[in-house]
């Protein structure tokens, strides 16, 4: 097996000799590496996913939302994983899951649109960059690997750019139906006619979590589909899956629990579908920003700042949580309300994909997140 550092060295020399090569071919040998980005749209609550149960302020700030973790086994002295993430927990135990906490993109406001734009474009602020970091990743990969697919009807921003990307969506993709239905209720709140009609319509419909509305079957189907799309030799090497329903302003405990169950099923189906290729696979799970530390008046949380991200897969040097934990005490919070970011999501992603594809980390970081400046990149995320 070739050592990653050999690749990097060779690659850097080749790049120098080529001058301003538009496409940096650092790794010329064919690779079997696969990379999947599962985006959690709606600001997934990192504190409800990977709970800092060892933080003395946790139970008090989280109230009802802390109950899910009452009996949850701890990953280490500080963190416990949501019990609905059974598959992910198994991966962690097997050394194939790594979590990063108190992580955030450069975005510091609280609009989903703008936050997702930053997360997907890889810019320092919304709308500064027109294409997406995953598309630019294709640009730094060898040509024979630069094939990507969106497991969606349309190509999300992260995959948009100068390199053509496929998209595929079956009719049974999990959608945010239930979340949308709940929002429609709010949309009609002030409209007498529509409010009455809508109340009747929803009276008989139980509003449950999205991905687990069918006990996670839809989410699992999407995971299995993604595996089918990236498993073949001539298939895509990079894929992106969009998930919605993470904006838990009310009744978070049930909703988030259901969402996580769906995510867990999706990851499980992906692993199963990839079979031996799982060993060559890295799955990134990330969201645009986190949620408030305190529970709000409707048993939910509002838009916050730092959250948690995951790296899953046989290629990941897992079994650990990376966190420079800022603490949940009042004084430690960002603007007095949110988990303070201590780790850049950009640096985390750049480090992870560079190591995974064995490409030059400095150049990768500047290609994917050109506005990040000189940020200490995260190293050692991948088994060598």
């Amino acid at each position: 097996m070739l050592d990653r550092r050999t690749f990097v060295t060779t690659g850097a020399a080749a790049a120098l000799s080529m001058g301003f090569a538009p496409r940096m071919s650092f790794a010329s040998a064919a690779t079997t590496k696969r990379f999947v980005f599962i985006i959690q749209r709606g600001a997934a609550d990192g504190l409800g996913t990977l709970a800092p149960v060892g933080d003395p302020a946790f139970a008090g700030a989280r109230g009802v939302l802390a109950q899910d973790f009452a009996d949850a086994p701890r990953l280490d002295a500080m963190f416990a994983l949501h019990p609905n993430l059974a598959t992910v927990s198994g991966l962690y135990k097997g050394g194939e899951a790594l979590f990063a906490h108190a992580v955030a993109s450069p975005y510091r406001d609280r609009s989903h649109f703008d936050g997702q734009n930053v997360l997907e474009s890889g810019g320092a602020a919304a709308y500064r960059i027109k294409d997406g970091w995953m598309n630019r990743l294709l640009g730094v990969l060898p040509r024979d690997q630069a094939r990507a697919i969106a497991v969606a009807a349309t190509v999300p921003l992260a995959l948009r750019g100068s390199i053509d990307v496929a998209s595929y969506a079956p009719s049974a993709l999990p959608d945010a139906s239930d979340d949308l239905l709940a929002r429609v209720a709010t949309l009609y709140a002030q409209d007498e006619q529509l409010h009455a009609i809508w109340q009747q319509a929803t009276a008989t419909r139980a509003l449950t979590g999205d991905m687990a509305a069918d006990d996670g079957r839809n989410a699992a189907a999407t995971g299995a589909l993604a595996a089918r799309l990236i498993a073949p030799d001539n298939g895509a090497r990079i894929a992106m899956i969009e998930t919605g329903g993470w904006d838990t302003h009310a009744g978070q405990r049930g909703r988030l629990g259901a969402q996580l169950k769906g995510l867990d099923a999706m990851v499980g189906a992906l692993k199963q579908g990839l079979g031996p290729l799982w060993a060559e696979t890295m799955v990134l799970v990330a969201t645009e920003f986190g949620r408030t530390v305190k529970v709000n008046g409707t048993q939910g949380t509002d838009h916050g700042t730092a959250s948690a991200a995951m790296l899953l897969g046989g290629a990941v040097k897992g079994g650990r949580v990376i966190a420079d934990w800022p603490g949940l005490g009042e004084a430690a919070l960002y603007e007095g309300r949110d988990l303070n970011p201590t780790l850049g999501l950009d640096a985390f992603i750049a480090g992870a994909v560079a190591e995974h594809f064995a490409i030059d980390p400095v150049r990768t970081a500047s290609a994917l997140f050109p506005q990040s400046g000189k940020v200490a990149r995260v190293e050692g995320l991948v088994r060598v």
């Binding site: 749209r41 709606g42 600001a43 609009s111 989903h112 649109f113 997702q116 969606a152 009807a153 349309t154 190509v155 999300p156 921003l157 948009r160 969506a169 993709l173 959608d175 945010a176 139906s177 979340d179 949308l180 239905l181 929002r183 429609v184 709010t186 949309l187 009609y188 709140a189 002030q190 409209d191 006619q193 529509l194 009609i197 809508w198 009747q200 319509a201 419909r205 969009e242 919605g244 329903g245 993470w246 904006d247």
Partner: protein
């Protein structure tokens, strides 16, 4: 709503992105009369009445032949029927696609709306096998060319169209005193005689309106006058291109007719024409059409003053349609700022696609969507057409279906659309603060777009 937003939505089919607010909203509507295309390419590519009619006539001929030849005609008959179903269904689906695609890119959306209005006023329903393959051709050939002409000309074209003659059973109506009628009576064979269906619906639905003073003898007399109006190759002994309109003198009931107190002594085909010409300019017709137009464009319960204005324009112009439309446009009641109409499934779907900036939609997909939303195209199930009042579709289940449909439509739209900007472009100052807030709070760009499509502003016009 501003005058521009009213023009775009109440009169039109919703704005497309990049639409420039007209300096004069009324002018923008009237100018469409000069730019309207009766046969845009997508519609010109569809089967004509002659083609669709010929296919149906051929099917009927095959069926007759099969029955004559075989003692057990069952299987042959069934296979011909199956082939006709498939053939007709393809034509029906393609025509729905053409209608939708013409509407989503049209820059004369008011004129397109008028086409849809008249096609529903003169409804044929594809639930009948004879109509399936002809429904599109009916609208394209009998409605579209006349939408800016006179009501009388449209009426004449509509009642002569094979889809209407077959749908309302006119094609086989035989006068008992006609040559065919006499022969049938003498032969003692299966009974054939007058069918009143078309005559009744013309009076009740197409012209005077129900309860406007005609009686059963008027219906019967009119049905006698209409005998002989048939479809070549289908209704019996008529010369002409198979599947097209034909007058069969041998089926026509001889003699003068008296309808609504007027005597019609004309011979043959001209007799029913004269009746139609009188009905087309009758005061009750003016009232009926004015009420329906006002209800369609302005309010489920239309303001009486508005109906009167349109009615006057109808009477003074002898049913000149552009004059009638101008009266509607000029009426202050039509520009009331509060939206008063809940969009029909068709209007909502088309405006959603226009709003998303789509340029093309697959026929099958669009036909399925209309079915799901409760108003399959050209299939109202009754000659009265679809009701034009919100109560029929602003119902709980229908609304949930729109939300689901919005979600699916959005998943096929470019993911680059920012609903916050798009809604401003489509509704300008007419968007409520509550809606703006919900769009801004949506979890994702796609969800915001779906919310925009089902917002109170988008559901109404």
């Amino acid at each position: 709503m501003t005058p521009t937003v009213i023009a775009w939505n109440r009169f039109g089919l919703g704005a497309r992105p990049g639409a420039v607010a007209p300096a004069d909203a009324k002018r923008w509507l009237i100018d469409q009369f000069d730019r309207y295309e009766a046969r845009p390419p997508v519609i010109a590519a569809q089967a004509t009445t002659a083609q669709a009619g010929a296919a149906f006539a051929e099917y009927r001929a095959e069926r007759r032949a099969a029955r004559r030849m075989a003692t057990d005609a069952g299987p042959l008959d069934r296979s011909a029927r199956m082939a006709m179903r498939v053939d007709g269904r393809d034509r029906y689906r393609d025509a729905i696609g053409a209608r939708a695609n013409a509407a989503i890119v049209s820059d004369t959306p008011f004129a397109e709306r008028l086409v849809h209005f008249w096609a529903n006023h003169f409804a044929v329903s594809a639930e009948k096998l004879a109509v399936v393959g002809l429904a599109g051709a009916f609208e394209f050939d009998a409605i579209r060319p006349h939408v800016l002409g006179s009501f009388g000309a449209m009426l004449g074209a509509v009642e002569r169209h094979p889809a209407m003659l077959l749908y309302l059973d006119q094609a086989q109506s035989v006068g008992p005193g006609s040559r065919v009628g006499q022969r049938v009576a003498a032969g003692g064979k299966r009974k054939r005689g007058i069918n009143e269906n078309l005559a009744r619906e013309i009076l009740e639905l197409h012209t005077l309106g129900v309860g406007s003073g005609y009686d059963q003898s008027d219906v019967t007399e009119f049905a006698r006058a209409l005998t002989g109006w048939t479809v070549a190759g289908i209704g019996g002994r008529a010369n002409g291109d198979p599947g097209g309109f034909a007058f069969a003198p041998a089926m026509h009931e001889p003699g003068a007719r008296t309808i609504l107190g007027a005597r019609y002594a004309q011979d043959g085909e001209a007799q029913a024409d004269a009746v139609l010409a009188a009905l087309a300019v009758h005061p009750a017709t003016a009232r009926h059409v004015a009420t329906k137009l006002a209800r369609h464009f302005v309010a489920d319960t239309p303001p009486p003053a508005l109906v009167t204005r349109i009615e006057q324009a109808f009477l003074e112009s002898n049913g000149d349609l552009p004059t009638i439309y101008r009266a509607l446009i000029d009426a202050p009641e039509a520009w009331a700022p509060m939206p008063a109409k809940f969009k029909t499934p068709w209007e909502w779907s088309i405006s959603a696609m226009r709003g998303l900036g789509l340029r093309e939609i697959a026929a099958q997909q669009f036909a399925g969507l209309q079915q799901q939303l409760g108003q399959p195209v050209w299939r109202p199930g009754a000659p009265a057409g679809y009701d034009d009042i919100a109560g029929r579709w602003a119902a709980p289940d229908a609304l949930v279906r729109r939300v689901e449909a919005a979600e699916r439509l959005v998943s096929r739209a470019p993911s680059t659309i920012d609903a916050r900007e798009r809604s401003q472009a489509l509704f300008a100052d007419s968007l409520s603060a509550a809606t703006q807030q919900q769009l801004a709070r949506a979890e994702s760009a796609q969800q915001a777009l779906a919310l925009m499509l089902v917002s109170p502003e988008f559901l109404r016009r």
